[in-house]
């Protein structure tokens, strides 16, 4: 981000930009934090139903998605290294790989959700409302948490696309790459949250 007000003709230096990003990540963390807290509390009161409902989730897809996200986290981290070493082409390729992996993640998610929808299991549906109370709660959390997470995947991917264009335009280069660093940080956050979502939703049966 450049700054137009006079007296501030410099670009925002990387420390400032990065600090802003970290603070923003904290708010994201607490946004999900509220959901994690709700999860903890509701699981405490409905542990039976949670076990039962969690068993319905597909561990295989969940694992694949975990692997995909971890890999994408690595590619985006490598992309910073590449840009630092002035290897623009590699940096862009690594970002493209990251976005590709994000796509894979979303496709998996799509299959997972549409599988549920085929069974008429979406929030508010007849089937849904006729489940046991505790299962309703679990699925509510499941949809809300994975849905919000998926939204973050999309935002993160868009951010990465923007970054690619900025690198192409030469605005982000080995001497100045706050945007790349920040989008990478954001992307890692997406990964970080999934690291917790995965065991909580899929594994604890």
């Amino acid at each position: 981000m450049t700054n137009t007000s006079p007296g501030h003709t410099h670009q925002i230096d990387s420390e400032t930009g990065k600090m802003g990003m970290w603070l923003f990540l904290f708010t994201e963390l607490f946004l999900f934090g509220g959901l994690f807290l709700a999860y903890a509390v509701l699981r405490n009161t409905h542990s039976e139903g949670f076990h039962k409902a969690a068993a319905e989730l597909d561990i295989f897809i969940g694992t694949i998605n975990t692997v995909v996200l971890l890999m994408s986290s690595m590619t985006v981290a490598m992309s910073i290294t590449a840009l630092q070493k002035d290897n623009k082409r590699l940096a862009i390729r690594l970002l493209l790989a990251t976005i590709f992996l994000a796509g894979v993640f979303m496709v998996n998610k799509y299959f997972e959700w549409s599988h549920k929808f085929e069974h008429h299991l979406w929030p508010g549906s007849e089937v849904y409302l006729n489940l046991e109370r505790s299962e309703i709660t679990f699925y509510g959390l499941y949809y809300m948490m994975t849905g919000l997470h998926a939204l973050h995947v999309i935002i993160g991917a868009i951010l990465l696309v923007v970054t690619i264009f900025r690198i192409k335009a030469g605005v982000q280069h080995s001497g100045h790459y706050v945007l790349l660093e920040n989008s990478a940080l954001y992307w890692h956050l997406v990964d970080l949250i999934w690291i917790f979502l995965f065991p909580l939703l899929y594994l604890i049966t």
Partner: protein, 95 residues
Amino acid sequence: MKNGEKPHISSYTSHAIVLIALLALTFITVFVSEINFGAFSVGVALIVASVKAVTVLTYFMHLKFENRFTVWMVSGVFIVFALVIVITFIDYLLR
């Protein structure tokens, strides 16, 4: 960078090693979840997840090479969140 200090450049191999470690941890949790540890299974899963999270934070997110203050902030924030959970559970567990 300020004061002309050189930013740390992590090597490609170090990133790859971190990934391998993370994948290994993932498979361990999936594997462990198949065995039933009863009440402990949640604990085990969460501990592994925390280890993974710390790994991502330190290496991928460069915390290891950031200034001290950022590290303090991040740890502080996690502590605050943990306290919120603990305090809420003073209510739920002792009811």
